[in-house]
């Protein structure tokens, strides 16, 4: 930069920054009352969302409850060795988590899309609204209720077994069957949430320009071709967005649903990473190691979201945010 311009430039910059500061102070004074209103909400977020985020530091400590976070011994990455040293319980939890995630992605995820297409093709608005009312309902039930209802359907004295007994068939063991646990988990998610999940797809469907269909049918495209070339492309963006969000959440959610049902099927086939953290950390007191597993689990979730988002960008999609 030219020597001549330096001193005045500094002055101008200083002046600019003081005037900016002055403006900020004036703004702060003006918005004082507004900021006061924000304090309770922000405080709750800081206390119960941000401080726990910092609390992940115990993953690097030999945490002792009576010493607290500050005074517990710093042991670096030792806690993380549980992830790499082939602990069989951890490996079981990891394997189950991956399988359940895969089931969610391949079998649970497409259901609302198909349901939305079916609903959308209903001509009668009243019928459509009626079906929607029924299908959205399970979303608002708690997992405890959903699990209880599934037990009443498929448990030892449940509807299915009652029917089989009444018709002279042998009863089937579904609830206590560890081999069917993961499929059970997936079907419960379908029952509870796939109706509700149609909302966003239905919204996307209503955005598709009707002129496209008219043009296509004038050109003689069959209904299936219209579905393939107009409807599905119209669902692509929202589908990708939801897919990315689901990738991020599957690793961490499912806690309530799974912890409720581990009793009859046993830990080996039902433990996932979140329940592993609960059992080993909160119940068994392995604080540091469990926090390490929880931290890695969370980070992998975020990495999956960001990675999938990146791939979506490479294919020219919007993803969850634009970089």
């Amino acid at each position: 930069m030219a020597v001549r311009g330096e001193a005045p430039a500094d002055e101008v910059r200083a002046e600019r920054s003081t005037s900016r500061l002055r403006r900020a102070v004036a703004k702060l004074r003006r918005d004082r009352a507004l900021l006061l209103l924000a304090i309770p909400g922000l405080a709750l977020l800081l206390l119960f969302q941000y401080i726990p985020l910092l609390g992940n530091i115990i993953a690097f400590e030999n945490y002792e409850p009576y010493l607290g976070i500050i005074h517990s011994q710093w042991i670096g990455l030792s806690n993380f060795s549980i992830i790499f040293n082939g602990n069989p319980e951890f490996l079981d939890a990891l394997k189950n988590t991956v399988i359940i995630t895969a089931l969610q992605v391949f079998f649970v995820f497409p259901v609302p899309i198909v349901l939305a297409l079916l609903l959308n093709s209903l001509v009668s608005e009243r019928l459509k609204r009626l079906v929607q009312s029924v299908l959205y309902l399970p979303h608002f039930l708690s997992w405890v209720v959903v699990v209880a209802i599934f037990q009443e359907m498929f448990g030892g004295s449940g509807l299915l077994d009652d029917w089989l007994r009444a018709h002279g068939h042998a009863t089937v063991n579904i609830i206590g069957n560890s081999g069917l646990f993961k499929e059970m988990i997936a079907s419960q998610v379908i029952w509870k949430d796939s109706g509700w999940a149609t909302i966003l797809f239905l919204a996307a469907l209503s955005q598709i320009d009707a002129a496209l269909y008219e043009a296509a049918s004038v050109d003689g495209a069959s209904r299936w071709r219209q579905l393939w070339h107009i409807t599905l492309p119209g669902l692509k963006s929202i589908g990708i967005l939801l897919f990315i969000l689901q990738l991020g959440s599957v690793l961490s959610t499912g806690f309530e649903q799974i912890i409720l049902q581990q009793g009859p099927v046993g830990i080996a086939s039902s433990e996932v990473l979140s329940t592993y953290v609960y059992h080993n950390g909160i119940l068994a007191g392995q604080w540091g190691e469990s926090a390490a597993v929880g931290l890695v689990n969370g980070l992998v979730g975020v990495a999956l979201v960001l990675g999938a988002n990146k791939i979506a960008h490479m294919f020219g999609e919007q993803g969850i945010y634009q970089s």
Partner: protein, 301 residues
């Protein structure tokens, strides 16, 4: 076939679908609805059935021919379930009031364009949406604040939901700003503007967000499992887990002594019904407005 153009936007295709196709669609949707409705009918029927019927049916009754409300009388006569209902109602009412107050204030504070640090503060909220804190650190925070076994542990950790803040903020920003500005010129304080101008215009949005919270508190299981060991402080969801999901025997010890005990299965189903009924009562309202709320959040967030 002559093409009958229905011209309704978004309908896949304008040719009339074949009869077979319509039959298949109708069948699939009917089955979907039946899969949702039948369990509800069964649960309600079993809760109203007599011992004889429960035994005859092998446990689960679809259509009761003698209706008795003995199971409901038993669970409402005092004892574990009655107390748990009380706890859940308390948590839901107090929690929803606290959540709505904090959320509305925060959303309003972030809704004014070009206010001090509004971008940074909004980032604080959005960031909370992306990262969920782990189980262990959350537990330790609640423990270090001395909230274990306190009803507050069921309220404060989930009191402010970032998503709801975003939804409400989007709604507030769409209100006619001239109204708010004129109140400001008249010298009304921000708190007064929120109370007297903004909230009266936002009754529907507040009701939706309030119901979001209320359903969340009523259904909350995770926090109760983590933070409440004292059985006398159990909310309904923990009672459901113990006596319905885990099939613990509901004896006279859990209910009022001296009564003839209705069948276990009926008692279990009655507890289940009691936990579902509040949801069913608000459901028509939820369904009408939730969809809008979700879409607002998705579009603006």
């Amino acid at each position: 076939m002559t093409v009958v153009s229905k011209g309704r936007p978004g309908v896949a295709g304008n040719q009339a679908p074949s009869v077979a196709m319509r039959g298949v669609k109708g069948l699939v949707l009917t089955i979907c609805c039946a899969v949702v409705i039948i369990p509800f009918v069964g649960v309600i029927s079993t809760s109203l059935a007599t011992q004889q019927q429960v035994t005859d049916a092998g446990g689960f009754v679809i259509i009761p021919d003698h209706v008795t409300i003995a199971a409901y009388r038993a669970i409402f006569a005092g004892g574990v379930v009655t107390r748990a209902i009380g706890v859940s109602v308390f948590i839901t009412v107090v929690g929803t009031a606290l959540s709505l107050t904090c959320t509305a204030m925060l959303a309003y504070a972030l809704s004014r364009p070009r206010s001090f640090a509004h971008k940074q503060l909004l980032m604080v909220v959005l960031f909370a949406l992306l990262f969920t804190p782990g189980i262990i650190p959350s537990y330790l925070v609640v423990k270090d604040f001395g909230l274990l076994n306190s009803y507050w542990s069921l309220i404060v950790p989930t009191a402010v939901n970032a998503f709801n803040v975003i939804v409400l903020r989007a709604f507030f920003m769409n209100l006619p700003q001239a109204l708010i500005d004129s109140a400001r010129i008249d010298g009304a304080s921000e708190a007064t503007i929120l109370r007297k101008v903004v909230l009266p215009l936002s009754k529907a949005a507040m009701a939706v967000v309030g119901l979001f919270y209320a359903v969340g508190y009523w259904n909350a299981f995770f926090n109760a499992l983590l933070y409440i060991n004292d059985t006398s402080k159990w909310p309904l969801q923990l009672v459901l887990q113990t006596y319905v999901v885990n099939n613990a025997e509901i004896g006279t010890g859990q209910l009022t002594p001296g009564e003839v005990l209705p069948p276990q299965q009926s008692l279990q189903m009655a507890i289940l019904v009691v936990s579902i009924v509040p949801i069913l009562l608000v459901y028509p309202f939820l369904q009408r407005h939730f969809a809008k709320g979700v879409l607002t959040g998705a579009v603006k967030g």
